[in-house]
Subunit: 389 residues, 2 copies
């Protein structure tokens, strides 16, 4: 399949399935590079479309829409994982370049497949069992202990589809609510903190990784991060080693983020991965020469990757999440801009409770001062100060 | 005139006359801020339109096109100076907010009006005289000396409309070529280097300025810059003081750049100003928390201005200029991306000899290493190494 001939001054055309905030920020990076993005958007007011990205309107599970996207773009990549693997395989079989491949993407779509791959590669993971639909949790609790972590095998995100059951009765209630679904049961990890490693990998395996990120989750959704993570070296070095092995094991192409648990006993365990730009990497826009969005595009285009060194001593990011009243942070922007040193990113979304509507990044001499700045600006954007994390 | 009611998640709508690379980079900043830009573009393939900016197609000197732009946007601002002042005055008289105002903009459009204003404000300027159409240059040369600098009063840019005449005969040839035009004759300044101060000013006068920039011009077009300018303090401090007084004297609103000559005798003289983002400020995208594009939008929206502190020790920028063969740097992008630490910006323009097609910024521990990095990547983008400056 020939590449669409781009107009003069265009370096390449890339198709993106999905048009959320990740595609929106990918579009900003694409403008730098003279790359034309075309997004497959479900709605004409999706964040990337509102940012001016060329768009086809269609569903990510519609083979015809995916075909049209592939035909107008040289390369198909993703803003989210909700694309059926079979459809991506069909695109690849038709000669389109799909990056990441369906075979890699399964590790971000299917928690059990990911767990099995990590374990087979000798990577450290929490002990886990697959529960078929209708299974009783008691045998799993006997082997993995209580509390028991239960995760939908597929379809969960931002903390949805993950529950912690304190006892067998609670576990049964969770499974009853998920009737008919496969569930991964996992040992509860005595976690000291959560880490993320954001990187990018080219088709032939060349990979780069940004410095370690310390993330704070609330209800399973990333709310805050600081980088470099203030983590002493055996754990910090191990996290970067594991993330490198994860990217290799799954055959990632493009941006790849590995989320890790650091336990109180000093172990590092792989939690889950994303094969696209990730919330944990947003501070790279300000803090590194090449952001995760630039490096995602460079990786899927098989171009040389950009430096992942931080150009500042430290950075922090705080998400802006919709409040219960559904009020619009865009109206509070001037107030947030009074916070010196904060970089505000709004996603152009209609507000809804719990919805990620934007983020604030700050750089600084250390993570504590950067975090204080980012929190202050995020708080100004949030009507309800409690929701700024 | 009421503001257009923006959709949820939109902080404001801003209209921009012109759709070149400055509007393109303004659009990238606008995406961060949830600001919707609408550009008045002459052609549907102008750089900002190719970056996905909403566009009206029309000429900047067409009152009806300007009216339509003002009606869909809350505020009208500019990507270039080629807008008749009378049209901007008519928009303001109709109740639209035009920033900068026609009264301010005249100082970027009319070199004599600017010179008179600077002189009246007690600011240091090269000695100058206005030559009416048909004037002989000899009296001016008698008073100002030789060589004599001749500038078209209006319409020049990027070195076009500026000539240096070594003797009276050369001056007569220049004036003959500009028959019918008013010309500013200026003393030749024994310049040691050129400086620029980029800043932004709000309607009530609050202003911020980035650290001093040292620029290198070739044939009157900015080719390279480094910041902070390696200039000792009496001169450096004086340049910043003068730039602050210039912004105030002309009533700038939005981004404002003052270009200055530093003479071998240690004086600082005002050369000219721009009342929009400027080539001298491009490194602020990577090197400062708030870029000149963010601060331009924040200033014209009368929002708090962002920090102009550099977040890195030093930065450099090198322009990518079209070669004689009209070859396309976009095709050489992967080669340029091999240069670690360089941030490439392509403008999505069809290549033409001498046309600004992009720029490269690098940050680093000092201006020399940043400049070496930026030059290496710019050279890789240029087919003809000589044209990378």
């Amino acid at each position: 399949v020939p590449l669409t001939l781009p107009p003069a001054g265009t370096a390449a055309t890339v198709g993106v399935v999905g048009a959320g905030q990740l595609a929106r920020m990918m579009h900003q990076a694409a403008i730098d590079l003279g790359v034309e993005l075309v997004v497959l958007a479900e709605r004409p007011d999706d964040p990337a479309v509102r940012a001016g990205c060329r768009a086809l309107i269609g569903r990510p599970d519609d083979p015809e829409a995916l075909d049209r996207l592939a035909e107008v773009s040289g390369i198909v990549t993703l803003d989210h994982e909700l694309v059926p693997a079979a459809h991506l395989e069909a695109l690849a079989a038709a000669g389109h370049r799909v990056r990441p491949s369906a075979a890699a993407l399964v590790h971000a779509q299917d928690k059990w497949a990911a767990w099995e791959r990590f374990e087979a590669a000798g990577l450290p993971v929490p002990r886990s069992l697959l529960l078929p639909p209708g299974a009783d949790p008691e045998p799993a609790a006997d082997r993995l202990g209580l509390p028991l972590v239960l995760k939908l095998r597929t379809g969960g995100y931002d903390g949805r589809g993950v529950e912690v059951a304190a006892d067998i009765e609670a576990a049964r209630r969770v499974l009853a609510a998920w009737a008919g679904r496969e569930v991964v049961a996992q040992e509860w990890v005595d976690m000291e903190f959560e880490l993320a490693v954001v990187g990018a990998r080219r088709p032939a395996g060349e990979a780069v990784f940004y410095p370690l990120v310390l993330t704070t989750q609330i209800d399973g959704m990333c709310r805050e991060l600081v980088t470099p993570a203030p983590v002493a070296d055996p754990v910090g070095r191990r996290a970067l080693e594991v993330a490198g092995a994860v990217a290799e094991a799954v055959g990632a192409v493009g941006a790849v983020t590995t989320e890790l648990f650091a336990t109180r006993s000093g172990a590092v365990l792989v939690n889950e991965i994303a094969l696209r730009p990730h919330n944990s990497g947003h501070a790279t826009i300000e803090a590194a020469t090449a952001s995760q969005f630039h490096n995602h595009l460079r990786a899927v285009l098989d171009w040389p990757l950009g430096s992942t060194d931080l150009i500042v001593p430290a950075a922090a990011m705080v998400n802006v999440v919709g409040d219960a009243a559904g009020s619009d942070p865009a109206g509070r922007l001037p107030r947030a801009l009074e916070v010196a040193g904060a970089s505000v990113h709004l996603y152009g979304k209609a507000p809804a409770p719990g919805r990620k509507l934007g983020h604030v990044t700050a750089t600084g001499p250390d993570v504590a001062s950067a975090l204080a700045t980012a929190r202050a600006a995020a708080a100004a954007l949030n009507a309800d100060p409690a929701s700024s994390g």
